[in-house]
């Protein structure tokens, strides 16, 4: 529960973010705001075909066009071996990556890059693209995950050998995973009721408002500078180094301010192309995707096809769950089938669970991470079927969740035994929330659903430099995607015992700070925060040593309290406390600059749980759904900056509502994307949503100095089922496929009417 007693001076307060003024005045430099002198412009030629052999590419006319400085195709990239290397939010296969950034033997989706041009103006580059002749042999394509798994489906990669499963002959199944606990047969035998259902979700795009953008400049001696909007400058460096065969030390990547990512900017698209074009042309190259390119060629998250089977006793105790999650990966392996399986029923203490998952390639852009990758998909199935059990048994849907809630000591089906967690607290708060108790009107319904995300740690490095005037600079390498600089500064201020406004946090380039893994997995405030706290403690240790030197006592005899070095006890001597600023001011006389540092692979992420309540009103004649009220309750461990914690929760819930109601990729019969723009790819607009009440629960993570768990991902897990359950509550019709758009819902309502009339 929220600890209102002020244990901390800065942690938990709502300060103005360090980058705020730049962002409200238009000064902040985002990806495409950057330019350098002598810069030329790069554009990408993209396949109009969903699946086609590239027989030949003739770039001679394009190269001859006045103003064109370089043209590249896959031939300019060395091939890569097929092996998995850890990077980004998953494992990277560079053979796939080099083919994704530039089609090699085949174009595998509408929008797949085929060639790129750099020219003195973007218009000339565009004109040059039209002069490139690509000879395609169009092949049959497959868009749907279930179709892709059928015998006789068009095969994307003849040579692909699936992992985790034996299949004789070519297949689109890249990977099979399974998790089990107990004995589901025994569990179903014990059950009084058993329900089995199928579900389907559409692939959805992260929908960041800022298109991908990069400026790359390679000098004649092979040194590369890359400025880009990314969630991981160190990933960009690693990927470009590998794809272009450059030493890591020769590449310096500076992250711009980032205009949204949500997982989608943990990968590379333009960066290797711009770098190679720059190398080839000898000039800095700027590339920016159009919105259409963002939709056609950058990663959405998977769509899924699921079956779930659940058994429960009359009292609501769930005895067994079986689930299968078939997730589309796009053109290359990488669907988050594992996390989908692991998260599906993680909020519950269920003794018998078997869940499997398939990673299936189809002719769509390769998926990228999107907020809690995989979890929202499987949770749509699991949280819908639990709702159905509750209804069947006449038990309140929150009560059944409380009855089955995972607690400290519960073994999750995916392996670990939970330490202190706050799931049950979220359910308790939901049950007593005035939203849950408020009356509903005609055509209105209420739904609830829960969600889980692991949260992750990973590599983080940070430096805390104490300045001569007693201020501090916090240097980290985690791009700030939603206020993390403020959180890092708050924790540094708290640890150093100085005022928040004396701490300046910056996000450094790859040459100015140690390695940091991507901003993703809800890790920055947790893991990079931990590195910052440890770096601040390192600075404090040095400050104590300086005080000891001045006092001529042992360093162990000095403690740090409220921004001052003090004698550990009266035995040490009668010394006036020395403030941080006075120690900083005489640092040159006591040993030189004071620089705290920490670098580690952070472990001990605390899992997060959420429970959401959603009210809808359904127009029974048109199928339009209005979300009337929304409450999201989440255990965050500790809210370092409560406003940005609420913001993450509200934003995640809003994205989930979009996923539930209207977002989808629409492909035509040729496998071309028919809605590559914000007009017809319908993310929620301001008038679509109510206020989203974010309720912060704080059950601290005992493995973080301030109790942080991680916030960003779990809020997108419950909404789809919460909305579906609310629609069922309003209409009696259960939607098992997303999106629940007006045409689909009206068709379902009409079908239910016909069925009712027949009975």
């Amino acid at each position: 529960m929220s600890s209102e007693n002020r244990k901390y001076k800065w942690v938990g307060t709502r300060q103005i973010r360090p980058d705020g003024h730049d962002k409200v005045t238009g000064r902040a430099k985002f990806g495409s705001d950057f330019s350098v002198s002598g810069m030329i412009h790069g554009r990408v030629l993209r396949s109009p075909h969903a699946h086609a052999v590239i027989k030949s590419i003739d770039t001679s006319e394009a190269e001859a066009l006045n103003g064109v400085k370089a043209v590249i195709t896959s031939k300019d990239f060395k091939d890569q071996s097929s092996e998995l290397k850890a990077a980004g939010e998953g494992m990277i296969n560079y053979r796939d990556m080099t083919r994704n950034i530039m089609a090699r033997e085949k174009a595998l989706y509408d929008g797949h890059a085929v060639a790129a041009v750099a020219a003195t103006t973007a218009e000339i580059a565009d004109a040059a693209l039209e002069l490139i002749k690509v000879d395609y042999e169009v092949l049959p394509h497959v868009i749907d995950v279930d179709e892709a798994m059928k015998d006789g489906a068009p095969i994307l990669h003849e040579e692909m050998v699936p992992s985790g499963i034996e299949i004789g002959g070519p297949t689109n199944i890249a990977k099979f995973v399974e998790f089990s606990l107990g004995d589901t047969k025994k569990g179903f035998d014990e059950a009084d009721i058993i329900i089995e259902r199928s579900y389907k979700t559409e692939a959805v795009h992260q929908g960041y408002i800022e298109p991908h953008a990069v400026v790359a400049s390679v000098t004649e001696d092979g040194q590369a500078q890359i400025w880009c909007c990314t969630q991981g400058q160190f990933q960009v460096r690693a990927f470009v180094a590998q794809l272009l065969g450059m030493p890591t030390s020769s590449i310096r990547v500076t992250p711009s301010e980032i205009g949204g990512g949500f997982g989608g900017k943990t990968v590379v698209y333009l960066e290797p192309l711009a770098t190679l074009l720059s190398k080839k042309s000898g000039k800095p190259v700027k590339m920016t995707m159009t919105r259409e390119e963002v939709f056609r060629a950058s990663g959405p998250t998977s769509g899924g096809s699921m079956t779930y089977k659940i058994g429960a006793k009359k009292d609501g105790k769930i005895t067994a769950v079986e689930g299968s999650n078939k997730l589309l990966a796009g053109a290359f392996s990488g669907a988050p089938a594992g996390p989908a399986c692991m998260c599906a029923v993680a909020p519950y203490d269920i003794k018998n669970v078997y869940i499997n998952g398939y990673d299936v390639v189809v002719n769509r852009p390769k998926v990228a991470a999107y907020r809690a990758p995989g979890a929202p998909i499987s949770a749509f199935g699991a949280e819908s079927i639990i709702d159905e059990v509750a209804k069947e048994l006449g038990i309140d849907p929150l009560k059944i969740r409380k009855l089955n809630a995972a607690k400290k000591g519960t073994q999750a089906a995916y392996g670990p035994t939970f330490r202190e967690i706050g799931y049950e607290e979220t359910v308790d708060i939901a049950m007593g929330h005035d939203h849950y108790l408020a009356p509903l009107g005609p055509n209105q319904g209420r739904g609830v659903a829960s969600g889980f995300w692991f949260n992750i740690g990973g590599e983080s490095s940070a430096t805390v430099n104490i300045n001569e005037d007693g201020t501090a600079v916090v240097i980290s390498g985690s791009p700030d995607i939603g206020g993390s600089r403020a959180s890092l500064a708050l924790m540094a201020a708290e640890t150093l015992g100085i005022d928040y406004d004396k701490v300046r946090p910056i996000v450094a380039d790859t040459a100015s700070v140690g390695y940091n893994f991507v901003t993703g997995g809800s890790r920055v405030t947790f893991a990079t925060g931990l590195a910052v706290v440890e770096a601040a403690k390192d600075a404090v240790r040095q400050l104590c040593e300086r005080a000891a030197k001045i006092w001529e006592v042992d360093a162990e005899a000095v403690i740090w309290d409220d921004g001052h070095a003090k004698p550990a006890s009266s035995n040490v001597g009668d010394f006036e406390p020395l403030s941080l600023s006075s120690l900083a001011g005489q640092a040159n006389k006591t040993g030189g600059p004071i620089c705290g540092h920490n670098a580690q692979n952070v472990q001990g992420a605390g899992p997060a749980f959420a429970t959401h309540i959603c009210d809808v009103e359904v127009d029974p004649e048109t199928g339009n759904v209005t979300v009337l009220r929304y409450t999201a309750i989440q255990d965050v461990g500790r809210a370092i900056h409560p406003s940005y914690v609420e913001g993450q929760i509200q934003g995640g819930a809003a994205q989930g509502i979009g996923w539930a109601l209207n977002e989808e990729y629409i492909y035509n019969s040729k496998g071309q994307l028919d809605n590559p723009g914000f007009l017809d790819y319908r993310i929620p607009v301001a008038s679509d949503l109510p206020m989203i009440d974010a309720v912060i629960v704080e059950v601290p993570n005992d493995r973080h100095p301030y109790g942080v768990r991680g916030v960003g991902e779990v809020p997108i897990v419950p909404p789809m089922a919460a909305v579906a359950n609310a629609i069922e509550n309003a209409t009696g019709v259960r939607m098992s496929a997303l999106p629940m758009s007006p045409p689909r819902l009206l068709a379902a309502l009409d079908q239910a009417d016909v069925k009712e009339a027949a009975e």
Partner: protein, 290 residues
């Protein structure tokens, strides 16, 4: 590379001459909210862009002595929306105009552009048709007037001849006991193209009986439809349930939609009936209050 001319005539005659003499495609720029999107997406490659906003007649919104309005073809939605007179007299027309895009789009979007873009789903068009609006066209042969429903020929096509453009529209004086309304179905609450749009204008007598009606549907056929059977279904009635059912059926029967990314044939057809009923109720309510 750069071949598009940009011209800003100050008179109608000058504009006609530019349009007539243009090499290649000549495009009129009013609010630009469709034109610039098409330009950027390389859907069009005009030889000349003619900005008509310096022609005073295209920018005026005048209430005439007889109660009718003359609306310049390039008047922006936001400008009309700020006018109490037209908003009170023809709320349906203003609502429909106001539904074209966001507040930002409203700062530019014109009736002339929405009509001549000739999308079957243009929001203002069903309302203009229902209200009985006419377009004042200037061309090489002088001026002519056409009812709004005669302007579009099909998706992206108009019946305007080379050198012709719409200078302004006439909106009749609001009849006593008259009311109009426009509704559209979109999946979100804003920022979408109509899946179905329906406009209605009608008059009532003292007893509340419908004495005249014009009902139009958008996005359910290649051009905006005038649904005469729907009007017949309610003229002479007090909008009793049977009349409303007949109206619903007439709207559905008139539909000849396509399946596309925005809706199915079945969905569009069914919703056309629903919107027909709803829009007529609103229009009648407005008429009854006069």
């Amino acid at each position: 590379m750069e071949s598009i001319q940009f011209r800003k005539p100050e008179t109608v005659d000058e504009a006609v001459k530019l349009l007539q003499g243009a090499d290649g495609d000549a495009r009129i720029l009013a609010g630009g909210t469709d034109l610039l999107v098409q330009l950027r997406a390389h859907m069009i490659d005009p030889g000349v862009i003619v900005d008509i906003k310096s022609i005073a007649e295209t920018r005026e919104l005048t209430k005439n002595d007889d109660g009718s309005y003359t609306i310049g073809a390039a008047v922006a939605g936001a400008e009309a929306h700020e006018r109490d007179d037209i908003t009170a007299d023809w709320p349906g027309v203003i609502e429909a105009w106001d539904l074209i895009g966001s507040t930002q789009i409203q700062g530019r979007a014109s009736l002339g552009g929405n009509l001549c873009n000739a999308s079957p789903a243009g929001d203002s068009v069903p309302a203009m048709v229902a209200a009985g609006m006419t377009a004042n066209i200037a061309g090489p042969d002088g001026r002519r007037t056409l009812p709004v429903e005669k302007i579009t020929a099909g998706p992206g096509k108009t019946n305007l001849k080379k050198g012709e453009f719409i200078v302004s529209f006439n909106l009749p004086a609001k009849p006593s006991n008259g009311g109009d309304a426009y509704l559209r179905l979109i999946p979100r609450t804003e920022m979408d193209i109509a899946v179905v749009g329906c406009g209605a204008a009608l008059t009532l007598d003292e007893s509340g009986t419908v004495t005249s009606a014009k009902i139009s549907l958008g996005a359910v056929a290649a051009t905006v439809l005038v649904v005469e059977d729907a009007a017949k279904a309610i003229i002479g009635t007090k909008l009793e349930p049977e009349a409303m059912s007949a109206l619903d059926a007439a709207c559905q029967a008139a539909c000849n939609p396509i399946d596309d990314k925005r809706g199915t044939v079945e969905y569009r057809t069914k919703v056309a009936g629903v919107l027909g009923r709803r829009v007529v109720s609103i229009a009648a309510n407005r008429a009854g209050k006069n």
